[in-house]
């Protein structure tokens, strides 16, 4: 049984079925690359994996425990990089990162921040306020955040957005190092990121029409989606 896995996942956003019957499995050292057209549900899947969203059906487990049974433990093992960089314009890069170190209960925060900033080549900016950073520098600061503290799982949503070619290569190197230490990386990207042998997960394969999904799932009669035939037909 894989360490991190999901089975029969269905994601419903509003009245739209994003994907259905999706399964994945990952073991330490694995990388999964999510592909799919816009709106195929790459971000939704990453948010499901992080526990921000709850799947309509199916379940995600870590060592056979559903991730929703112990949220805090799941949050402690994962690092998530979303579309937004979460950088406060009035705080310096170091102060911005400090909070995340504290929340993860890191002992020697300053040393870890230094290491992370060196790894992303932005150590010279550590005293610069967030509002003076370029978008690429903001992205690197956000990437530095995921290096602080211990983690077993990286969920990266379009990590290369705003990065130049050189920093993309640095990111690929960071991912390789993390995998070598036994970490699991799941990421979505539009450009090629030099990650060694990722497992491909093409979300377009799991796009199923709503009507088909409803046939398989006998939703209770009081379910608004089912009881309204016009909606279901859309």
């Amino acid at each position: 049984m894989a360490v991190f896995s999901g089975s029969d996942l269905t994601c419903l956003r509003g009245e739209r079925l994003v994907f259905g019957k999706l399964s994945f499995a990952a073991n330490p050292g694995d990388a999964i690359m999510l592909r799919g057209r816009n709106g195929a549900g790459k971000s939704s899947l990453l948010r499901l994996m992080a526990g921000l969203l709850v799947p309509r059906s199916g379940q995600i487990t870590w060592n056979d425990d559903p991730i929703h049974s112990d949220r805090i433990a799941h949050h402690a093992r994962l690092q998530y990089l979303g579309h937004q960089d979460a950088i406060k314009p009035v705080l310096s890069v170091r102060d911005n990162l400090h909070l995340w170190g504290q929340l993860r209960g890191v002992d020697d925060i300053d040393r870890e921040i230094d290491t992370a900033l060196h790894a992303l080549d932005i150590h010279h900016l550590s005293r610069t306020a967030g509002r003076y950073l370029s978008s690429g520098q903001k992205r690197r600061t956000a990437l530095a955040r995921i290096l602080i503290g211990h983690a077993d799982l990286w969920l990266l949503d379009e990590p290369t957005v705003g990065l130049d070619r050189e920093s993309s290569n640095e990111l690929a190197q960071l991912i390789a190092d993390f995998r070598a230490k036994g970490g699991i990386v799941i990421y979505s990207t539009h450009i090629d990121l030099a990650v060694k042998e990722p497992t491909l997960l093409d979300l377009d394969e799991f796009a199923i029409p709503m009507i088909e999904w409803l046939k398989d799932h006998d939703a209770p009669a009081d379910d608004g989606i089912r009881s309204d035939p016009k909606r279901a037909a859309q």
């Binding site: 992080a50 526990g51 921000l52 969203l53 709850v54 805090i72 433990a73 949050h75 402690a76 994962l78 998530y80 979303g82 579309h83 937004q84 960089d85 979460a86 950088i87 406060k88 009035v90 705080l91 102060d95 400090h98 909070l99 995340w100 504290q102 929340l103 993860r104 209960g105 955040r145």
Partner: protein, 221 residues
């Protein structure tokens, strides 16, 4: 506890750097209170009679003014998403943010209140009770208000919506807050009112972080 202090420290740091919020809340409080003598006329007795009510109503409105921003900026820049995903329970995060909100808005109001009481010709007998009542009441305002602030995330015109959601919930605090001062002015004991305010505060402290955290999780979906 570590998470609580981390959030509290960061929010205070942010408030110091971009500081206008506290000043604005106090300024709003002073301006609103000042409007009443213009409206009801400069008759000293009438002002003394309505002073406690006016101060409380102005304080409620001022506290509400800043609510919209408690979670809004964190929501917009993605910080809230990461706070939700941090290995600290969201209720603790909420509590940290609420305490920071109270320190930057509620506390300055308590300092400004006696000045307004002097302006409205309130009898000095009521001052101590007014301060104690506000000390008990304003944290409850922040705690209850946070639910509204979390519920409006993602809504347009959140500021108006938050008033509609939260103001009705503030009524008990207004009644007992003004009542306590009234009792003291009449030479009676205000203990009963203050005890009820303490009870409201404790209840809010115990219950609202869960409601707020739940609303935040909803907003993240």
């Amino acid at each position: 506890m570590n998470g609580f202090t981390a959030i509290l420290r960061r929010d205070l740091q942010l408030a110091m750097r971009q500081g206008a919020d506290s000043v604005m809340v106090v300024a709003f409080f002073i301006v609103t209170t000042t409007l009443f003598p213009f409206g009801v006329g400069p008759e000293a007795n009438i002002l003394a009679r309505i002073a406690s009510g006016v101060i409380w109503v102005s304080a409620l409105l001022a506290a509400m003014l800043s609510l919209e921003r408690v979670f809004q900026t964190d929501y917009e820049d993605g910080t809230l998403e990461l706070l939700t995903l941090s290995p600290v329970s969201l209720e603790i995060v909420v509590l940290g943010k609420v305490v920071a909100h109270w320190l930057t808005t509620g506390l300055p109001l308590i300092v400004a209140a006696p000045l307004m009481a002097v302006m409205l010709n309130m009898d000095t007998d009521g001052f101590v009770v007014l301060m104690i009542a506000m000390l008990l009441g304003t944290p409850a305002l922040s705690l209850i208000g946070a639910i509204g602030a979390a519920l409006i995330l993602g809504a347009r015109r959140g500021g108006v919506l938050v008033s509609l959601l939260v103001l009705p919930l503030y009524i008990p605090i207004l009644i007992f807050g003004a009542g306590a001062v009234e009792a003291a002015l009449l030479g009676m004991s205000a203990t009963a009112q203050l005890q009820i305010m303490g009870a409201i505060l404790l209840l809010a402290l115990a219950a609202t972080p869960f409601a707020t955290a739940h609303a935040l999780r909803q907003a993240m979906e």
